[in-house]
Symmetry: C2
Subunit: 548 residues, 2 copies
């Protein structure tokens, strides 16, 4: 079998939009997933690991009039022509699993799932086609206690992974409140097109401001480049009704401000109200009013918010239902001790309003980080979810109420890294160097002793001829200690321990005098190797931490 | 937008050959992977998580004369016509990663990886198209110390996950020994076809016996159905040379037996030899000679084995190199305390001889389990590996020596389950029942207290009308305790704790008298809920363990 056809060498590259994760990146993520799984488990959620591959049919990813799967998924045809695809989230597989196994599963079914999902989307900087999700869902109950539980769970999970209270907030809104407002505005449930335009317009409030949204709801809007976007053509009554929802935060802030001014005028500078006033006066009102360290003013804001929402849904039944649901969630959470320092009712949450059917949740980190250009910016959203009552019905025909959420693990890791909260000691291995290559067995015996004592250790396995290369290797491995045993040491029953952390510090700062005074290398008896290494590691820990 | 085209309902099924994992299955696997990762880490191996998707080109899965990828992988074309595929193992991605990042990685590079891999193969009972692998590899060193380390690592990993010493053995063989024998038999390195037939014939020793293998090496073999398989047409000298390798175990056993008989005859019943004799007399010789509790006779067997191999490779340089490598591995392992009670040199290992280029390893569980029909059988192989020195060269043109192994996590889990070593208490949650649906906040407060105390707990979220359904739910959840607080209890400041484990035991065995004497329900003060639940859980642990 001669190799007559020489193939060109393959490129050593991931496909576009995919990447590899190394060392601490992998271990930090695993630690985070384990921690979150622990919280989910404590809440009674059961693990589920479905396969990465689903039938395209089950994912519901056929476009209506096309016989190829949706472009958003990676899909291929099986040998018997069936279309299969990589899952693009963990919710569609849950619906399939629940429909398939519903007779064997408890009802309600609390489940959690974590793992990679794949999106066939254009990759971009920081946008990958494979990433982790980490979900918890409760299937089979319409009780708002399930929604409240998901919010509490999200809050506990964030704190468990190292986001302290005050550095995050879980915001809750309700699609039914919007539905109520739309009803009052005379846009019935089957006015899909108009409702769609309204949703998209509200979603642009941040970017366009309330006048821009008003224009989109009315006659249309010309942007700075002169391009014109067709409007929904609503009447001014309709527009103002909807703006009462879209612009709720500003109006609630104004109302709080008014109440507080009133109180001060009347000589009643109730501290709670004044605090509420202060927060509304803050430019960054939405975030500031979360008042992380002031649950009392948060509580007050919550009650004003619920009253306001109650007003704007008027006589709409579904709207009233939505407000009542929010009130119920707030009450249940308060009973469990989750006040507005952690979870707030916030009509400014619009993400997910188009997708979910009831309450929606969003967890945001409230601290600032520096972006790539060194400018401070809010870190933003790291998790979201809500109630979706019709996913299982696709399979069974029966509506099954469900509520859940998904934590963006990779974003959370990025946040912790940006805050310097993952700068743990690098945990490189102790490196046993090779002075005499024919005495490899001696060196292996040393690493075995160290490993058996629970100390991360390895023997240098490259070409031992050049000792400098061995030290370079130890450096690249972030090794805290190098162990050296030449023939002379062997004969005298000792080994040298080189403190590489101390050595690096000395090399950085020390004068020659100091260098001499702080020997970074000590000779210890071979028999006490494990004890002495342990002692040296312990002495390094504080300096490593102060470095971080 | 009326729904005029009604699509048929999708089937709620995984694609063929895929499955879902629930609850303890997922958590047991995660625990095992974490444990193994801990051992890998302690050995200085660094985590690597490459993407699940690779270019087909990088996987090397194009068949020589075909422009579609190998059928063994799941592959599809990207929008720019590039073929992508799901990884089918963790070794091919390692080669790609090393080639891509070699300038940033330490050399040698010790890495571990764990995760799902996908095979586009015909599914069968117990054969799935997605399963876990858990690999450790060292890239960039030809030192046998790396091979020895992989064997020690494998041994430690097995013990860490709960396979006690004596219940497993790591066997080591070397492809170079076979190459030496083939050289002696006059089959040079480029006699691919003949060498291929020889390899396949040796692989069938277990099934066909030595006469069957002899026939395949010679003129061919007629099987029971009368079908004839063409032989390699080797001379009888060639056949006998190869049989000395293929049949090595039986001949080493015979030799040991002879030595021992001699010793007894001469009145020298050296206990070591007699033990060695005893084990060779055992029908299940290969396994019995591992002599888990007798490292001494194992050591003796090892030296006889190495001498025997040394003889059969005659003057072949590569053969002698192979035997020396095995001896070096054995010596290095002995220096670290890994004797033949854990790791043995064993020429009967043939799996992987075709693929690897030097030492090959295989870890076998030596205990028996009952198969589906209740018959005892050896559990068999759970991990394997070896030295492969040419994977990276595909990308870079430069040969990079590498050695590694892969643990079959799902098989290991099955083994532990079969031995009853995963029968841990089911860890169902404490279920707080709902007696008055309008007091949900009270019940939520209870679960919050329990969870904050680290106790897995949940409130019943289904329709609370039928209390029987709540108890059925608690049963399905394997709940250890149900908490009950009706209006009367609320008024008196107490709750009822129902011991469901004790209740189940009583229901199974007890007479009516006993039932009365052992109340499985106690009333405790609401304020002491957490303490009393903790006390009851502690009292259950022994009975749960004895049940397992």
């Amino acid at each position: 079998m001669a190799k007559d056809k020489k193939q060109p060498r393959p490129k050593a590259e991931t496909p576009k939009g995919f990447r590899d994760y190394f060392g601490a990146e992998v271990e930090d993520r695993r630690t985070m997933l384990d921690t979150i799984a622990g919280v989910y488990h404590r809440y009674g959620f059961d693990a589920l690991e479905s396969s990465g591959v689903e039938t395209v049919e089950a994912l519901g990813k056929f476009l209506p009039d096309v016989d190829r799967p949706n472009e958003g998924v990676f899909a291929w045809q099986d040998e018997d022509e069936q279309w299969m695809a990589l899952r693009y989230d963990l919710t569609a597989p849950l619906a399939r699993v629940y429909a398939q196994h519903r007779n064997d599963l408890p009802t309600p079914y609390r489940r959690y799932a974590m793992g990679p999902v794949w999106r066939n989307e254009k990759p971009g900087p920081g946008r990958f086609r494979q990433f982790y999700q980490c979900d918890a869902d409760t299937v089979g109950t319409a009780s708002m206690a399930a929604d409240a539980e998901i919010c509490a769970l999200l809050s506990d999970a964030l704190e468990a992974v190292g986001i302290p209270r005050g550095d995050y907030v879980v915001r809750v809104n309700n699609r039914k409140v919007l539905n109520g407002v739309l009803e009052v505005a005379g846009l019935p449930e089957d006015a899909f097109t108009e409702r769609g335009i309204v949703l998209r317009a509200i979603d642009k409030l941040d970017r366009l401001g309330s006048d821009g949204v008003r224009a989109l709801l009315g006659q249309g809007r010309k942007d700075e480049s002169g391009d014109f976007t067709e409007g929904a053509g609503l009447s001014s009554f309709q527009i103002e009704t909807i703006m009462a929802f879209a612009d709720a935060t500003a109006r609630i802030n104004a109302r709080l401000s008014e109440i507080a001014s009133d109180a001060i005028e009347k000589g009643l500078p109730n501290s709670r109200l004044v605090r509420a006033l202060n927060s509304t006066l803050n430019e960054n009102a939405v975030d500031a009013t979360v008042a992380p360290h002031d649950p009392e003013s948060g509580q007050y804001r919550m009650s004003v918010t619920l009253d306001y929402l109650s007003e704007i849904v008027g006589n709409s039944d579904v709207g009233a239902e939505g407000v009542n649901e929010l009130r119920e969630i707030a009450d249940l959470l308060a009973a469990q001790g989750y006040g507005p320092d952690r979870i707030v009712i916030d009509p400014s949450v619009v993400r997910g309003l188009g997708y979910y059917t009831g309450p929606v949740f969003e967890a945001e980190l409230t601290f600032e980080i520096l972006d790539e250009k060194g400018r401070p910016r809010q870190f933003g959203s790291v998790a979201g979810g809500g109630r979706y009552d019709d996913l299982v019905a696709r399979f069974t025909g029966q509506t099954v109420p469900a509520v859940g959420m998904s934590i963006g693990v990779d974003r959370l890791l990025a946040a912790l890294r940006a805050k310097g909260r993952l700068d743990r000691a690098a945990e490189g291995p102790v490196v046993v160097t090779v002075m005499d290559r024919y005495r490899m067995a001696d060196y292996q015996a040393m690493v075995a002793e160290l490993r058996n004592a629970g100390i991360r250790a390895e023997v240098y396995l490259g070409n031992p001829k050049n000792f400098g290369n061995q030290m370079k290797y130890a450096d690249r491995r972030n090794s805290p200690i190098a162990v050296i045993e030449g023939g002379d040491e062997k004969a005298r029953g000792v080994v040298q321990l080189k403190d590489l952390i101390l050595g690096a510090e000395i090399a950085k700062d020390a004068t020659l005098e100091e260098w001499k005074e702080r020997p970074s290398q000590v000779e210890v008896s071979r028999a006490s190797l494990v004890d002495e290494v342990r002692k040296m590691l312990a002495s390094q820990t504080p300096s490593q931490v102060s470095d971080a």
